[in-house]
């Protein structure tokens, strides 16, 4: 009797391992697996595209020709050549023009939405920016093809409206929402005490923005632009449809170009699995993956640097 009373009831047993305890552990494990899934997928992407492209990298790849030659002729019967210079020039020109068009507008819009607009106007603008981001890339491509193309032909009196200008503007509009959103987040992250201190010294709103808010948010803004570049660099369908798709190092904004991404999209369907051409396309994929990874990593480091300060 006494001994029974001395033994604490099960509910007092703090180290009690019942069903709930095991369920808890099992779920914790499952959730952990889910948690690292993103890491697994990123590694998986790299492993699988490398696996398919390895045959080309270890075999016919001539690094100097690959980066130095503008001749991308994978289907040539006599002597296929794999030079990506023109494709890189195509991607760079289109992304470059897109950034020239959209960086000022995106940052301007972020400043307006974050610092000037209030209440309902602000909400409406944010929703509109979100909707801009939601338009599918194939619809953008279609717009480039069927609305911008005739417009450019009429406006500039050129024979073809598909090229750097067309895809640059389209890409600029596509990259703008991500830049605006992230830049606005960066502005929002600047503590209000900074603004109040400046205003208490008699600074006007624009003085506060230029002298206090923008310098304080500098890193976040740089990250925003970087992510915009990454978006433009990796865009596929819109560039495929609006750039004219001929291999060319552009000399004018009306020139037709071909981007790295578009090349894969256009040619993968026609290649036999495991052929040299097929492996070369996967090698382009590795190049794209590595460059976007570096861009994203840099953006992350820049933001982290800002947080540490």
């Amino acid at each position: 009797m006494l001994a029974e009373q001395a033994k604490p009831p099960a509910s007092m047993d703090l180290d009690h391992r019942g069903r709930d305890w095991y369920t808890d552990k099992a779920i914790a494990f499952l959730v952990f697996v889910g948690g690292i899934s993103a890491v697994i997928f990123i590694i998986g992407i790299f492993v699988f595209i490398t696996k398919e492209g390895l045959g080309f990298i270890s075999g016919p790849l001539d690094v100097r020709e690959f980066f130095g030659s503008p001749a991308w002729r994978p289907t040539s019967l006599r002597e296929p050549t794999y030079g990506v210079l023109a494709l890189i020039a195509g991607t760079a020109s289109v992304t470059g023009l897109a950034m020239v068009v959209s960086v000022p507008f995106s940052l301007g819009a972020a400043i307006f939405i974050g610092e000037f607009a209030t209440g309902r106007l602000r909400e409406v603008l944010k929703v509109l920016v979100e909707l801009l981001a939601a338009i599918p890339s194939v619809v953008w491509g279609f717009i480039g093809l069927s609305i911008m193309n005739p417009l450019i032909i009429d406006l500039f009196n050129v024979p073809v409206g598909l090229g750097v200008l067309n895809s640059g503007i389209i890409l600029g509009l596509m990259a703008a929402p991500i830049m605006t959103t992230i830049a606005e987040d960066a502005l929002k992250a600047v503590p209000d005490t900074y603004r109040e201190a400046a205003e208490a010294m008699g600074a006007t709103k624009w003085q506060v923005i230029f002298k206090v808010v923008l310098p304080a948010a500098k890193n976040g803004l740089v990250a925003a632009v970087l992510l915009g570049v990454g978006r433009g660099f990796g865009e596929t369908m819109a560039v495929l449809m609006a750039s004219g798709h001929s291999i060319n190092i552009p000399t004018s904004p009306f020139d037709s170009v071909r981007a790295l991404t578009a090349t894969i999209a256009a040619e993968l369907g026609e290649t036999a699995t495991g052929s040299e051409h097929y492996q070369a396309l996967f090698t382009l994929g590795i190049l794209l993956f590595v460059v976007t990874f570096i861009i994203n990593l840099t953006a992350d480091l820049v933001v982290r640097g800002a947080k540490k300060k």
Partner: protein, 304 residues
């Protein structure tokens, strides 16, 4: 007191508080910058309106019950978009089944379990990268991993899994945000009653975050429905005049169909292209609008 002296004192007073040249200059600049940035914002958002207007004006007349519910005919130069519409629904549904559980688990881990260490930083970086990797690289991954390695061939399954991996960040980020919005006090109250971590998550955290998770899922639907590049080589067919019967079939899809009829098939009437584009964008923007409305409704309703 001299009368004119008092006059002088009075005359000084208003100017003490009235705008100086500097004030006026500042105010002008203020107005100028406001207008400039406002104009920039306007130029950025105007295209949404213009694009929608053009698509509605040119594509609107093409849209009819018959257009939505009939098969393409005459080498895709006539008829409707029914198989593409059904195909997109298949792709979205299978992608959701695959990605929502994983995404929610990832978000639960990041919000409820993850310590602040290098692994968590790595996970966050991986999520950012998963969202930032070009869609065509996801397509290559889909071909390598699902079509060839897993042996699914070009099928709805392979395409949907590719889409699921690609849109995973959307679910994770939205879910994590809504989980973190549940106050810590709710969890503490539950823990104090002796509940385990999982009991707390299941009975307190998830029910309070469910609507936020739903918002993210709807957003994912809109993203998934619009993607083209990832499904081009993994499961979306150029032309497949049947309705898919299982996940191992190929299928047509709205986005792919728009790409095909606007670039690869000669002689498609403009009306048909615009009609297809309008249907696709309506589908996508509708989902987005629902998600946004839902979110702002929830924000208004929150009591904590």
């Amino acid at each position: 007191m001299n009368h004119s002296d008092a006059d002088k004192a009075l005359a000084v007073e208003p100017s003490m508080f009235s705008a100086t040249n500097l004030n006026a200059h500042n105010r002008r600049l203020q107005w100028l910058f406001r207008a400039l940035f406002g104009l920039m914002t306007l130029i950025l958002v105007i295209p949404v309106g213009v694009i929608l207007a053009v698509l509605i004006v040119r594509g609107g007349p093409a849209i009819s019950i018959e257009f939505l519910f009939s098969h393409p005919s005459d080498g895709m130069t006539a008829g409707g978009i029914f198989p593409a519409l059904i195909g997109t629904m298949w792709l979205v549904a299978v992608a959701l089944i695959a990605s929502v559980p994983v995404g929610v688990a990832a978000a639960v881990y990041l919000s409820e379990y993850a310590p602040d260490n290098w692994l968590t930083r790595g996970i966050n970086l991986a999520i950012i990268n998963l969202a930032g990797v070009p869609s065509i690289v996801h397509a290559l991954f889909g071909v390598g991993a699902f079509v060839i390695f897993a042996g699914f061939g070009t099928s709805i399954l392979a395409a949907s899994l590719t889409l699921a991996v690609m849109t995973l960040p959307v679910v994770i980020v939205a879910t994590r945000e809504s989980l973190q919005a549940v106050p810590l006090a709710f969890r503490e109250a539950c823990w104090n009653m002796g509940a385990t971590r999982w009991q707390t998550i299941r009975t307190v955290v998830l029910p309070n975050a469910i609507s936020g998770i739903l918002t993210g899922v709807i957003l994912e639907v809109s993203r998934t429905a619009g993607e083209t590049a990832p499904i081009m080589f993994t499961g979306a067919a150029f032309f497949f005049p049947f309705l898919p019967l299982s996940v191992f079939d190929q299928t047509m899809a709205m986005s792919m169909h728009l790409f095909v009829i606007s670039t690869a098939v000669p002689g498609v009437p403009d009306e048909l292209k615009y009609g297809t584009a309008l249907t696709l964008i309506t589908l996508v923007l509708l989902m987005n609008a629902i998600s946004i409305t839902f979110r702002s409704y929830l924000r208004g309703k929150k009591k904590w």
